[in-house]
């Protein structure tokens, strides 16, 4: 039986001087609203309201937390503060900016820039439905990730990891900026020992160490997700999730389908980022940026006859699209 999710604040409610317009999204950590500030500017307001710990019935403002759930609720609140504290220090066009932080209704709210545009996920879906041989042009992919990596580098410099990078969390604004969203899973790297709650992960984009209790998370964990995003931008679909890859790794095979469509270098970089062994990946964003920015002549390698045959057989057995 699934428990009822806490009800979002109704449209029109005013919290901390912001008037709620509508609910935009709800996740494990809380609800994001579109709201207007006193000058009638649009903002996004994120309410701390962990769905598994807090209850709120329709029309009520203050969430209720059962006493036995208080410790976890407080722990989550601490992470919410950490997210705010870290985002507050970062001012970078590729990282969503925090405008205000306040307490009301016995919970806390984070006010962020409201971005207009679409997520990278939306773009991938639209592009792949056109059914051309490539989803995005290589130059588009390179410049998009160059922008994202600049932001991610700053995030890592603030001792933070994103830990949930995926196309749905990368926003392309109408004025053509790429902005990373949803740092809900982000944690300060240094304080991760002790009471560390493993963040939720997205299959396909989560590195293998995210699935393990004892896995050491680091910049390389976000780099795996970046690799998976590049993969999705080329293939149109997310890669297999990492437990599946540990069992039988088809990554090299599916990347070989893209040979001659994308340059060898881009395919190699993707495979490098997505190494199952964290130590085999680029260890820092900087290392990856260097490789992606390398402007040498692109080499393309055609598939050999034997490889084409192997791919066709593979397609017959799995029914995958070529």
């Amino acid at each position: 039986m699934s428990k009822l999710k806490p009800a979002p604040l109704p449209s029109g409610t005013v919290v901390g001087g912001y008037q709620i317009v509508k609910k935009l999204a709800a996740g494990g950590f809380g609800v994001v609203y579109l709201a207007e500030d006193a000058q009638r500017h649009m903002v996004a307001v994120k309410e701390y309201l962990p769905s598994s710990l807090a209850e709120r019935s329709q029309g009520e403002l203050t969430p209720r937390v059962k006493p036995e759930k208080q410790p976890l609720y407080r722990l989550g609140l601490k992470s919410f503060f950490e997210e705010g504290r870290s985002l507050a220090q970062i001012s970078h066009p590729s990282v969503v900016s925090v405008l205000n932080f306040f307490r009301e209704n016995e919970t806390v709210y984070m006010v962020m820039n409201y971005l207009q545009g679409e997520t990278l996920q939306d773009f991938i879906v639209t592009a792949r439905d056109l059914k051309r041989d490539k989803v995005f042009r290589e130059s588009t992919i390179r410049s998009l990730f160059d922008e994202i990596l600049r932001g991610l580098r700053i995030v890592h410099q603030h001792k933070m990891l994103h830990l949930d990078i995926k196309p749905a969390n990368i926003f392309i604004t109408n004025d053509n900026r790429a902005v990373m969203l949803d740092f809900g899973a982000a944690r300060e790297v240094l304080s991760k020992e002790g009471n560390f709650i493993r963040p939720m992960y997205t299959p396909g984009f989560a590195a293998p160490e995210m699935y393990r209790r004892d896995g050491t998370l680091g910049p390389w964990t976000d780099i795996y997700a970046i690799g998976a995003c590049i993969y999705a931008c080329m293939q149109g679909y997310p890669p297999n999730d990492s437990p599946q890859r540990i069992e039988k790794d088809r990554l090299a095979l599916s990347l070989s389908r893209l040979r001659n469509v994308y340059s060898d270098n881009l395919l190699e970089v993707t495979e490098w980022c997505m190494s199952l062994d964290p130590l085999s990946r680029p260890q820092s964003v900087f290392a990856l940026q260097k490789e992606l920015a390398r402007e040498t002549e692109r080499r393309y390698t055609k598939l050999t006859f034997g490889e084409r045959l192997k791919l066709q057989l593979e397609n017959l057995t799995t029914g995958a699209k070529a």
Partner: protein, 305 residues
Amino acid sequence: MRFSIYQVSRKGGREKNEDRMGYSYTRDSGLFALADGMGGHPEGEVASQLALQTMSALFQQASKPTIPDPLAFLNQAILAGHQQLLRYSAQKALSDTPRTTVVACLLQGDSVYWAHCGDSRLYMVRAGKLIARTRDHSYSELQDALHSVVPMRERLNRNVLFTCLGSPGKPVIDTAGPFTLQGGDRLMLCSDGLWGTVTDESITEELGRRSIAEAVPELVEQALRNGGPKCDNVSVMAVEWECSEAEQGGSGVSTEELGDDVFASTIQASVLGHDAADDLDDAEIERSIKEINDAIRRSSQKKKN
């Protein structure tokens, strides 16, 4: 004061990471510390964490907002960490005391002071040259120092220390300073996981040639590569001194706008954090919110400048 900082800690091939590091600062003073909990004794990660917490707590008390006598402070703060370890082990009735090394440096005005116990090191690099580094409290470095006086016998293992925090004898603490800082000076604290496999020359070269944000990850990667599958924990924290008065346009941490009584720290106040959530009372929540809003204000000011 304005400085930038970059730190990386990696577990290497070990089961646990027993290294801890962090920094605390007020408007006019900054404390940077790193501790390497020792294997072969219980709870190395508790030892390193306790040593840093003790230092940070004492720093918070003493820096109002400067420390009157930095060298005496460093000495006392490290010693207090040692006493905390003995107390901790007595309280928990451990058969052996958790042990740790520690290296700490204090920036104040345009001077730097440092102190250490054990074999975690501090390197100071200016314009690509190694200006200073701590001498380990290990028998092998002692042997190096004394070889002209006492005849050399077989090489001693570099890992054997003659002092650390938590051992039965009173720890030996070396202090140094004040050294006058120049803009661009780099100070690096590291555990033996780094210097055990990366030479002083490489460390100096990396620190001299690149920004700390590039040099630190590169050095840690080198150490992990050289250390192989059984690599020790590797922790490195580097600070680049920008200036004592905040000028416009720097990129690092600027302490100038902090109020008289503001204290910031990356060192968690609770032991290992298992009771971390309990101390989140109303006052703490209000303080967190205020801190975040202060940070937002500072960032948006920076953007305007």
